[in-house]
């Protein structure tokens, strides 16, 4: 069946996507890399000059870069910890027999479909607002002083908002994995006198390991480039307290018009993401073998 003829037909069928993705990968990246070596400001057109590594030096020694890097990692780690632990909890809970399981499941996964700008605005105004927010009302009802979430703990607030959006994803993936666990295996363990805790540690957790890895890897890719939530809630502030790498590059490029510096930042972000991606590609590759 696989003749030379079908192979050349196959190559022809693949050509458009290969060419397009190749262009999509190479053209912007090459341009970004090129710009990163220029002194290039949109406000001073025609004054582009080669500056070697000056942009990188400027970007990497900017104190904002260091805090952006830390914030990027804190967002990824913070959200991962909350969603993995919460996701395991919800998956275990939803796997139990109950009334209206389908409806609860629908309630739990709903936040995943809320667009980032909506969830950011709803949390910012209707929940975290220190005057009219629901949290402030709860605090006042308990006789406490309302807390100005986004002003006093901007990064934590953003982490909580993002965690709310991604908890459903973790729950959904982990629940799917959990439901494929062989019922007999659980029963056999129970027969052997395994309590709920040892059952969880020795049977359920190892079974979910692969799903947990998938959740970690995929969320990391998305969380590294969080943008809309920051733009809408804190605009990166106060100062650079809630600025991540993506947002820093955005401010440098589209607000300060420093194309050269922003490009250097873009390249740094790409390098960082690639380090993560190497692991993901290896992992998915292994799964494809199976």
């Amino acid at each position: 069946m696989a003749t030379g003829h079908t192979h050349s037909a196959a190559r022809l069928m693949m050509a458009p996507s290969v060419v397009l993705l190749l262009a999509w990968m190479i053209v912007p990246l090459a341009m970004t890399a090129y710009f990163s070596f220029l002194r290039y400001n949109l406000l001073m057109p025609g004054e582009e000059v080669f500056t070697s590594l000056a942009n990188y030096q400027f970007f990497l020694t900017d104190p904002a870069f260091f805090s952006a890097l830390i914030n990027t990692l804190l967002i990824v780690l913070g959200v991962l910890v909350i969603t993995i632990i919460g996701g395991i909890g919800f998956a275990l809970l939803l796997d139990q027999p109950m009334f209206g399981q389908g409806i609860v499941r629908i309630l739990v996964i709903a936040p995943f479909f809320v667009m980032p700008t909506v969830s950011a605005l709803v949390w910012k105004n209707m929940f975290m607002n220190p005057v009219n927010g629901l949290f402030a009302w709860i605090a006042r009802s308990l006789g406490l002083e309302p807390f100005d979430w986004l002003a006093n703990a901007p990064l934590l607030s953003i982490i909580l908002i993002i965690a709310w959006q991604w908890l459903p994803f973790a729950t959904l993936i982990l629940l799917t994995a959990l439901q494929s666990l062989n019922e007999e295996q659980k029963e056999a363990a129970e027969m052997d006198g395994a309590g709920p805790i040892s059952k969880f540690i020795y049977i359920i957790l190892p079974h979910m390991a692969r799903a947990i890895t998938v959740v970690i890897l995929i969320q990391t890719i998305f969380l590294l480039s969080i943008f809309a939530e920051i733009l809408v809630t804190t605009n990166g502030g106060p100062g650079v307290e809630s600025t991540n790498l993506t947002f820093l590059v955005y401010t440098q490029a589209l607000l300060q018009f420093d194309i050269g510096g922003a490009s250097a930042g873009g390249i740094v972000a790409v390098v960082l993401a690639n380090i993560v991606a190497v692991f993901l590609i290896r992992f998915v590759g292994k799964n494809l073998e199976a």
Partner: protein, 276 residues
Amino acid sequence: MARQGSARRKLVTTVIAWTFGLAIFFPILWTVLTSFKTEAEAIASPPSFLFFHWTTENYAEVQSRSNYFGHFMNSVVIAFGSTFAALAIAIPSAWAMAFSPTKRTKNILMWMLSTKMMPSVGALIPVYLIFRDTGLLDTRTGLVIVLTLINLPIVLWMLYTYFKEIPGEILEAARMDGASLIKEIVYVLTPMVVPGIASTLLLNVILAWNEAFWTLNLTTSDAAPLTAFIASYSSPEGLFYGKLSAASTMAIAPILILGWFSQKQLVRGLTFGAVK
């Protein structure tokens, strides 16, 4: 005795699960409820949960004061346009990779996935400049192009995993039975392929509908989809909770419903079939 114990346990689990489920869902529920309040009631303290004067004035306001419908249509065109474009490009490729694989097929698939790992911010500046110079900034066409390219790897992968499951023997058997190419396509292939294509379409419409980085950076007003339109409420206008909620409800309702229908495909699509 045992049955009674398990019935009680089921009841307790039900209560706990519903409590947590409602807690997670609450922000969405609250947004929908607020959208039906007057501005005074929306901001009132203590807040009223159900016993308020229900009104649809916020929806009318959002529609009349801003071009909500225009932004909605932008979202529809961009989400469906980019999905259809990606499908048109990806179907032949995925087909070829699944049914006529070579030694390099897997490497190509891996490489395609790797383009998805590139953070958008590394491409933003060139794309922005190219779009500025070609007049594609703030146009639907521009966003369709970008979102097509961004989602192409996922579309391709999903289709590939679906096509891969179709046994090649069925095709050969149909051919043996003397089915013509057209009959083969209409009666044998299409029924097997359509469900996979449909769920790929669904998942990608959801992803494209909610995509915010590119829509926020490449549009200002004309082509702004709902993601960017809602972001404009981050100005002091956001303090009008009723209108903010009405606009938000209208922005998320269609995709929330689509999402609920496609939970299963979602797991598969987002994990590239690695979790079943």
